[in-house]
């Protein structure tokens, strides 16, 4: 009798443990939301929540791509400057007008150019890292410094206004069924990426390359191509982030656009449970990760915490979230 009972108990415990292991990031997430709701009742208002989703979309888009790079054992420190560069291309194309005042370049084409520029930077990163066999940390840092410098040079450091037309600004500021369009875009991409990562061969190879590069190579996987592809993915995502960001303001600031976004994105990915050593990770974790970061920023304002102290709170929440993550094993 007793043995049977304790077995049933054990099974329940195992089940709980299983849930915790697979969904700990979600549990932490719900916990944080609960704490926030108690601390600041206005936090749970729909407009506030939607606002958080809108604000985190840019970093969120980058975090999605960053997840691939990190799982494959890499890192991308160039995202912020690349966002500025691609954004500058978008704004410069988009603001060109014909003599009669109509846009000279169709908006869609300008966006495609923006995505292409960002993806090319990813390609560049990937090529240098794989062909010259240099560490990703330093390569992407250097490429980032160079990209920022280039955009500053070509724009003389200034903030340039785009053509403030509704079709354009709607991308970043609009809503569909009151859900912010940028968040819908991010969710859409996230779903595609989730399938890519878990259901396709490419996804498995990304894990393999991050887990054991040699074994992947001996199994016939084109390690370099997979690597390069992950950097192109984060590039594409950065281009998407650039489109959202530019469209929200219809302007690009050469010096500040996207600054520090790479760290926000990496933090989101790690908070989401993906390991920097490569070979394992989950996209859903990254999504929760960037939303947690957005909530933290929002709560500083909600609770009117001294701007000096906001860093303390933020650091503590990051540590707490990662700590909860790690307990899984």
């Amino acid at each position: 009798m007793i043995a049977v009972e304790s077995r049933a108990e054990n099974r329940a415990l195992e089940l709980l443990k299983g849930i915790w292991r697979n969904y700990s990031v979600l549990v932490v997430f719900v916990g944080i939301i609960g704490i926030c709701a108690i601390a600041a009742p206005r936090f749970l208002r729909m407009d506030n929540l939607l606002n958080i989703l809108r604000n985190t979309s840019t970093v969120g888009a980058i975090a999605l791509g960053m997840t691939f790079v990190i799982i494959a054992g890499g890192i991308d420190l160039s995202s912020g400057p690349v966002l500025a560069t691609a954004g500058a291309v978008l704004i410069l194309l988009q603001r060109m007008v014909n003599a009669d005042g109509t846009p000279a370049v169709p908006l869609a084409l300008a966006i495609v150019a923006c995505l292409a520029v960002a993806t090319s930077f990813g390609f560049l990163n990937g090529i240098i890292i794989t062909k010259a066999k240099l560490p990703p940390f330093i390569v992407t840092l250097a490429v980032g410094i160079m990209a920022r410098s280039l955009v500053m040079y070509f724009m003389r450091g200034a903030t340039v206004m785009g053509n403030n037309i509704p079709q354009f600004t709607r991308i970043g500021n609009g809503s569909v069924f009151s859900i912010p369009i940028p968040f819908l875009l991010v969710v859409g991409v996230a779903i595609i990426f989730h399938i890519l990562l878990t259901r396709t061969k490419f996804g498995t190879y990304v894990f393999a390359v991050g887990g054991n590069e040699n074994a992947a190579r001996y199994s016939g996987i084109k390690v370099d191509r997979i690597r390069i592809a992950t950097y192109m993915i984060v590039g594409l995502c950065t281009g998407m982030a650039a489109t959202i960001e530019m469209s929200r303001m219809a302007a690009v600031a050469a010096a500040t656009s996207g600054s520090q976004y790479e760290f926000e994105a990496i933090t989101a990915v790690i908070v989401g449970g993906t390991s920097l050593t490569g070979g394992k990770g989950r996209l859903i974790g990254s999504i929760v990760g960037f939303i947690i970061l957005g909530i933290v920023n929002n709560m500083m304002i909600m609770l009117n915490i001294s701007p000096y102290l906001s860093g303390c709170v933020k650091g503590a929440v990051i540590l707490f979230a990662v700590l909860m993550q790690r307990r899984e094993r």
């Binding site: 195992e14 259901r199 396709t200 061969k201 490419f202 498995t204 190879y205 894990f207 393999a208 887990g211 054991n212 040699n214 074994a215 992947a216 190579r217 001996y218 199994s219 016939g220 996987i221 084109k222 070979g279 394992k280």
Partner: protein, 496 residues
């Protein structure tokens, strides 16, 4: 027990993540005794010894060493201090440190001002190595060593200090006859000095040759301890597996000698000198030789991992260019590498992934096809009798032998026409080894050409229909199964 007992382990239990891998195991060794420890892959041999050497803590039971109870959470250093030293199954050397630094890690001789006395350390290291018949410069980095040399360094490290109990977990799996002989002489002399030795091996002949007693584990349970004089290798195998194990000897290749699938011609590089060979449909071809003879290197050239200076490869008579593994896979070559940890498996991924990488590459389409993948995986787990809790188990948690089977499974699922197996049974137990041999024979019967590189002579003798022997990058002899003997192979391998 006799009062000469150095070690007694009583009622040891241990679980990982709720799975019990040791169940109430008793184990003891006397002073100067050489105790063999046998069991199938995953039986719990390494785990038991890791508990002894302070790496794992047991869940229940006690360890008594030299009459005193060892505290449950003793550290590796504490166990070393009381005189327990262990050679681990997986090499755990530090590649960026020198040989001497590795041997003396944590016990560096101090000189002036508390700094390390490098001169003494290097001299001592050289002395210990020469005792093992190695003349490598102890100032070299371990990174530059070959796997057998690394194994010797690992052994040197274990015997460098006053030990009273030495645990050797499959020390010979990377060694050939010459080094093995040196090692056995060493073990005997240690034993004569009163040092107890626990010797784990899947090569039962070695157990018979060197041990006084043997303890057999099965599935985490203690089965028996026997005097070696009272048992045969065959009986040990039966105890381990719990049923009869049949061994067999190969005969000459019976198939069509003209149906050459793979031909390699004139491969030369820094080590290899104009090497070539042919293998036919359904043939099992062996490569034997001493360590560093260049067999692995030759196979890496064939598989496109390494660029030779000259050389060409023909598949079914047609010349092919193989520049990378994927090219080799396209012409239906398969290659089970000798180092499963480094080049064979992605340890942090599960069995499903590791078993399917190549077949995914070969099949068209972007998606993995969850159902087909799962079926394949289950089929291969059954066929190779891979011991695991589920196909979704991480490969890193499998025992060495089971890992080897997973490494093999990748190529079985991809349908290779030529399968190169480099040390295919390194660390695999007798039962599983016979299973693997059986699988190899079945594959050959299906028409797959098999190339086996092995440093294990009995293995070569029992399965290969033809053997090529290499010495220092050259082919020195080719023998058919009917003319095969250990002496002949050694004759060509040493090129006297």
């Amino acid at each position: 027990m006799s009062n000469a007992a150095v070690l007694q382990m009583k009622g040891i239990c241990k679980s990982f993540f709720g799975v019990e891998v040791l169940h109430n195991v008793d184990f003891g060794v006397d002073k100067g005794e050489i105790m063999g420890l046998c069991g199938e892959n995953g039986a719990g041999k390494s785990t038991l010894m890791k508990i002894l050497s302070g790496i794992h803590a047991q869940d229940a039971g006690e360890v008594i060493f030299k009459g005193s109870v060892i505290r449950r959470n003793a550290t590796p250093l504490e166990m070393q201090r009381v005189g327990v030293s262990m050679i681990h199954q997986e090499l755990i050397l530090l590649n960026e440190l020198t040989i001497a630094q590795n041997i003396f890690l944590c016990r560096e001789p101090r000189g002036a001002a508390g700094l390390i006395n490098f001169n003494r350390m290097n001299e001592d290291a050289a002395r210990i190595l020469s005792k093992l018949g190695e003349k490598i410069d102890p100032k070299r980095k371990v990174r530059d060593l070959k796997i057998a040399q690394k194994q010797m360094v690992e052994i040197a490290k274990a015997i460098a200090f006053n030990v009273e109990l030495l645990v050797m977990d499959e020390p010979t799996s990377a060694l050939t006859g010459k080094e093995t002989k040196i090692l056995f002489d060493l073990i005997s002399s240690l034993s004569a000095q009163g040092i107890a030795v626990v010797y784990i091996s899947h090569r039962l002949k070695e157990i018979i040759d060197v041990c006084h007693k043997v303890t057999v584990l099965r599935d985490g349970h203690f089965v028996a301890t026997k005097n070696v004089a009272d048992v045969t290798a065959h009986e040990i195998a039966t105890l381990m597996v719990g049923r009869e194990v049949k061994e067999s000897k190969a005969s000459d290749f019976p198939g069509d000698p003209n149906a050459v699938v793979l031909e390699v011609r004139g491969v030369s590089d820094d080590l290899l000198k104009d090497v070539g060979f042919k293998v036919r449909r359904g043939e099992i071809l062996g490569f034997s030789g001493l360590i560093g003879a260049g067999r692995t290197e030759l196979m890496e050239v064939v598989f496109g991992i390494r660029k030779p200076r000259t050389g060409s490869v023909f598949i079914e008579g047609k010349p092919v260019t193989i520049r990378s593994a994927i090219d080799a896979i396209r012409v239906d070559l398969g290659f089970v590498t000798e180092d499963r940890k480094e080049t064979g498996l992605v340890l942090c991924r599960d069995i499903v992934d590791n078993a399917n990488y190549v077949s995914w590459l070969k099949n068209p389409g972007m998606f993995k096809g969850a159902k087909a993948t799962m079926e394949n995986t289950r089929r291969i787990i059954d066929r190779l009798a891979i011991r695991c809790s589920s196909p979704a188990q991480n490969v890193s948690n499998l025992s060495g032998g089971n890992q080897q089977k997973v490494a093999l499974s990748k190529w079985l699922l991809s349908g290779a026409k030529v399968l190169v197996l480099d040390e295919p049974t390194r660390g695999v137990d007798v039962g599983a080894r016979q299973e693997i041999y059986q699988i190899i024979r079945e594959l050959a019967a299906e028409g797959v050409a098999i190339v086996i590189v092995s440093s294990d002579l009995p293995e070569i003798l029992s399965i290969c229909e033809r053997v090529i022997v290499m010495h220092e990058g050259r082919i020195t002899g080719t023998l058919n199964a009917s003319e095969l003997s250990e002496a002949k192979v050694m004759y060509y391998a040493t090129d006297v």
